[in-house]
């Protein structure tokens, strides 16, 4: 068991060792925090399901470098996102803007909640009209 833990810990440490950029990009902690927030909202186009903060694909490294350079040049978050969208489309953003094409995407949680709520209300309302004892279910009285 102890050996298993040791292996598990070693694997976790190996993961840490793979961390992408070892040195912080900016000396100023506020800038560094801003940088980390921005790169967590941009998608790596090579690996699709990762942000450029998490990916060690070469394209992700290049997009991080461009992000750093634009921040150092005093560009706003909006300008950095626009730079990426101009080249890669809205897909590069982890939070796509609300447009007619994404209404279903953004509306899905509300639709599912309302739809599920309606079904639940319908079922509950119907069941509440049934008699308390169900002759088809002999086990009910026993429980």
């Amino acid at each position: 068991m102890k050996a298993l833990f040791a292996i598990f810990a070693a694997v976790l440490w190996a993961q840490l060792a793979l961390a992408i950029d070892t040195a912080p990009a900016f000396a100023d902690p506020a800038q560094q925090a801003r940088y980390e927030r921005v790169i967590r909202e941009l998608r790596c186009l090579q690996c699709r399901s990762e942000t450029i903060a998490d990916s060690n694909a070469t394209l992700a490294a290049d997009l991080r470098r461009q992000t750093r350079e634009m921040m150092a040049a005093g560009k706003s978050d909006q300008e950095i996102f626009q730079h990426m969208v101009d080249r890669y489309g809205d897909y590069v953003l982890y939070k796509p803007p609300v447009t007619p094409r994404t209404w279903l995407l953004w509306g899905a949680p509300i639709l599912l909640l309302v739809g599920g709520g309606a079904i639940a209300a319908f079922v509950i309302a119907r069941k509440s009209h049934l008699p308390d004892t169900d002759p088809a279910d002999p086990g009910l009285g026993a429980s």
């Binding site: 186009l45 090579q46 394209l59 290049d62 997009l63 461009q66 080249r87 890669y88 489309g89 897909y91």
Partner: protein, 177 residues
């Protein structure tokens, strides 16, 4: 009756969605650059890095930009097709040598043949990013007005060239005259 129709209907809808999903190409991203002016670049030439090349020099005529690298296996796969397209000579092929090393890129062209009128050397990858590249090979068609009219992501084949590129080149030529 309803208790059968609803679950079966939902199941059928789910199967329908999944079936549509099977047939869809989810790897190719739509490029926001289609219909926009091609990004202008100026890069050292792969054959002679002391000289610079800019795609400004090709303004006024249609041309193709092919993003390649000696590290790219699929570029090796499409190379023969590019050689044949270059021999056909309908439009000039411009290479964008993306994230490569100069000796490797030069050796590639010497060993396999050079289908490009010129290749720009982009080791840092900034020009590739300007063109919205996310993986080589990618092939763009720029029309005589300097507008990107088509992008193909995958190894080029003669079939794709004839089906997708040639009709658009003819259209572009007709407009340009």
């Amino acid at each position: 009756m309803l208790r059968f129709i609803i679950p079966i209907g939902l199941f059928a809808a789910l199967v329908g969605f999944l079936f549509i999903g099977l047939g869809r190409d989810k790897q190719t991203l739509p490029s926001p650059l289609i219909g926009k002016p091609a990004p202008i670049f100026e890069l050292p030439r792969v054959d002679d890095p002391t000289q610079k090349f800019s795609n400004r020099e090709l303004a006024g005529r249609p041309y193709v930009v092919n993003i390649w690298g000696s590290w790219c296996v699929a570029c090796r796969e499409e190379h023969e097709a590019l050689m044949q397209i270059a021999r056909r000579g309908e439009v000039p092929l411009v290479g964008l040598n993306w994230k490569d090393e100069l000796p490797l890129a030069q050796r590639w062209l010497q060993a396999l043949g050079n289908p490009y009128v010129v290749s720009g050397f982009d080791p840092e990858g900034n020009v590739g990013i300007d063109w919205g590249a996310y993986g080589a090979p990618e092939t763009f068609l720029v029309d005589a007005q300097g507008i990107i009219v088509y992008k193909y992501v995958s190894p080029m084949t003669l079939d794709v060239w004839q089906r997708e590129f040639l009709p658009r080149i003819e259209q572009s030529g007709a407009k340009g005259e």
